[in-house]
């Protein structure tokens, strides 16, 4: 054993920014997260050159998975051109040399904040969701230690009670995004704040989803072909946002999740949230041959 076998050459920055021991820790935790779907696994969560709350959890997972052959897509609010998505994409490619893409079909790794693309993900694709708050019980129990005990006991009574109270008061469950969902029949998770529109895309999906909260230092996962069931009562069915009939004013795409754009006259117009799907729709309309993947929703209905 000599010094040269124990050490390696000095590098100004590790490949993929994170050093080997940070990656190993994340790898170990990712395996545990996959082994217990929906269960939040604590990890050290190193600082990265981005502010906490800006996707540092997703970033650490992507940096661990990435290699020079990984084609990466980054979206924020469904859009590739959102400024923070652009910033993360640039960073990922800068520290890894990995190629980037805007097309969901071409991506090996998709890092996203708040959305799942409208085209179905395949078995060979990995979705990394950025998570601000990994704890579905936070609204009923802000203390992390108590909430952890509740998960250990599968004690979701207060969660159900909260949903029931909303139905009594408002006639429906008032949860917007990050709808609490039961994973593999055991752990309730918050599916990051994706809209209700996207939660069914996780149920028995072909792809692996890893959800990572950098600031809160928790990682959880939904393996492929895993049950993800929104918490609902038998007589009050799960309702996604009523976007099925909306049409994108730019692209003409219809039946997908939309951004509402308020107009001067008091009305609203809509544009498709999955920006690249919109681009592809326009390209096709303009006569460019464009490949579309099968979409989760067809004519505004989950297929």
């Amino acid at each position: 054993m000599s010094l040269s076998t124990l050490t390696k050459d000095w590098e100004p920055m590790s490949y993929g920014f994170l050093d080997a021991s940070a990656k190993r820790e994340i790898r170990r935790k990712m395996l545990k997260a996959v082994a217990v779907p929906g269960c939040q696994m604590p990890y050290a969560s190193r600082e990265v050159p981005m502010a906490r709350g800006w996707g540092t959890g997703g970033l650490q997972v992507s940096l661990t998975l990435i290699n020079p052959k990984t084609t990466v897509k980054v979206i924020d609010q469904g859009a590739d051109d959102s400024v923070n998505a652009a910033s993360i994409r640039r960073f990922l490619s800068r520290v890894s040399g990995a190629p980037t893409t805007l097309d969901t079909l071409d991506a090996d790794l998709i890092q996203s904040r708040h959305r799942i693309p409208e085209e179905k993900l395949r078995e060979d694709q990995v979705l990394v969701l950025q998570v601000p708050n990994p704890e579905p019980l936070r609204p009923v129990q802000p203390n992390m230690s108590i909430a952890r005990q509740m998960h250990a006991d599968a004690d979701y009574g207060r969660m159900w009670l909260q949903l029931y109270e909303q139905i009594v008061r408002s006639g429906r469950v008032m949860q917007g995004a990050s709808y609490p969902s039961m994973v593999n029949g055991r752990h309730v998770m918050t599916p990051s704040p994706i809209p209700r529109w996207d939660v069914p895309k996780l149920h028995m999906a072909k792809h692996l989803t890893i959800l990572s909260a950098g600031r809160e230092k928790r990682i959880h996962a939904v393996p492929p072909y895993t049950r993800v069931e929104p918490l609902v009562f038998d007589d009050v069915p799960y309702k996604v946002e009523e976007h099925g009939d909306l049409t994108c004013f730019r692209s003409g795409a219809k039946g997908f999740f939309m951004n509402e754009i308020p107009q001067d006259d008091g009305s609203s117009t809509y544009e498709i949230s999955d920006s690249e799907y919109g681009v592809k729709t326009i390209k096709q309309a303009e006569g460019t041959e464009t490949a579309f993947g099968e979409s989760w929703y067809q004519d505004g209905e989950m297929s």
Binding site: R172, G176, P195, K217
Partner: protein
């Protein structure tokens, strides 16, 4: 017309960063050196919160971020996290600290003496406006004491323990390389003692003060008496693979012991940090003092104050609210409108 080009976002963020940096102009070695020389207490604060002791890097971080403290600490921590851990230094006791200042509010005099050291405590806080009119403000010469105060002093808590006024924490015999490191493992509760002290050492000064002050005002069970406050330099002793111990230099540290009466004994709260930062140490020690038996969810409960004084996390989350939240907002709007429609069914639109 095609869709908005994706490169638009990239150009925008690049230009906005240029705009920020252009306000600071060129950063040179001289500027960094001047910041380091002129603002040692700011450097200390940043080094403590970053948990990285390097005055040059701290000065550079301040220069690069224009003094945006949260950004300066973040850029240092992001640098620190990629550095290899080459060695773990020997633990150091309070009585081995090379002490510049050490005062006690508990006793008029203490073994080793009250050492006032450098402080603005008794200064009159008057701005030297003449400097702005071209005069130079020159600090007056320090007259050395006839007899220098001892460089090494015991802690006040040790004297109190000898007099059966206080129970010292049990000596922790963990090997230095096995001490849990909060930068390499998650903080879980109940927190390991090492994690608590490390988190307090890295705590954001303002955050520690806000919660510590809440405890001091009465939202805590214990009223602190400053047993001792110390500004010192700690010798970094490392062991060569061949077994020889040597000093790798000294770093500035500060620490506070606060006590409170509990029954017939005193209870002890403790905090220490890298660099000299008195407000943070007293606040953090007060939180530590109050934490035993604190009610869940109160400001003095360990989980509450350790999470909420984490400056990089709290400031990051705060500014993340600037990011677009169209999707979550849209999802909430949909639920609100739908609930409203259920309450007052819309009349059929007139033709």
């Amino acid at each position: 017309m095609a869709y908005v080009a994706t490169r638009g976002g990239e150009r925008a963020i690049e230009q906005s960063e240029r705009l920020f940096r252009s306000a600071m102009g060129e950063i040179t070695e001289d500027r960094v050196a001047e910041i380091k020389k002129a603002m040692p207490y700011l450097i200390d604060r940043v080094m403590g919160e970053a948990s990285l002791y390097d005055e040059d890097l701290a000065a550079l971080a301040l220069a690069q971020t224009g003094g945006e403290l949260f950004e300066a600490v973040l850029v240092l921590r992001a640098w620190r996290t990629t550095q290899p851990r080459l060695h773990v230094a020997e633990p150091i006791g309070q009585d081995e600290l090379f002490t510049h200042r050490r005062i006690s509010a508990a006793f008029k005099d203490i073994p080793g003496g009250q050492v006032l050291g450098p402080t603005l405590d008794y200064s009159h806080r008057v701005l030297a406006t003449e400097v702005l009119n071209g005069s130079t403000y020159a600090p007056e010469k320090v007259d050395a004491a006839d007899k220098p105060s001892p460089a090494y002093q015991p802690s006040v808590a040790v004297w109190q323990a000898e007099n059966d006024l206080l129970d010292l924490p049990e000596r922790d015999e963990t090997r230095p390389e096995d001490i849990p490191d909060v930068t390499r493992e998650p903080l879980l509760f109940p927190s390991k003692r090492a994690h608590t002290l490390q988190s307090l050492a890295r705590a954001e000064t303002g955050g520690a003060l806000a919660l510590g002050y809440a405890a001091m005002r009465g939202y805590g069970q214990a009223h602190p008496t400053v047993n001792e406050l110390r500004l010192a330099e700690a010798e970094i002793t490392v062991t060569h693979p061949k077994g020889t111990q040597f000093s790798a230099g000294r770093v500035k540290v500060s620490q506070a012991e606060v006590v409170s009466k509990k029954g017939e004994k005193l209870e002890l709260g403790f905090a220490a940090t890298m660099g000299w930062n008195e407000v943070k140490c007293i606040s953090a020690a007060t939180l530590d003092l109050n934490s035993k038996g604190a009610e869940k969810g109160s400001a003095t409960e360990e989980e509450f104050y350790l999470y909420h004084t984490e400056g990089v996390e709290s400031s990051g989350f705060c500014i993340h609210f600037k990011l677009p939240h169209y999707v979550t907002f849209q999802s909430s709007l949909d639920a609100m409108r739908n609930a409203k429609a259920k309450k007052s069914p819309k009349p059929e639109p007139a033709e």
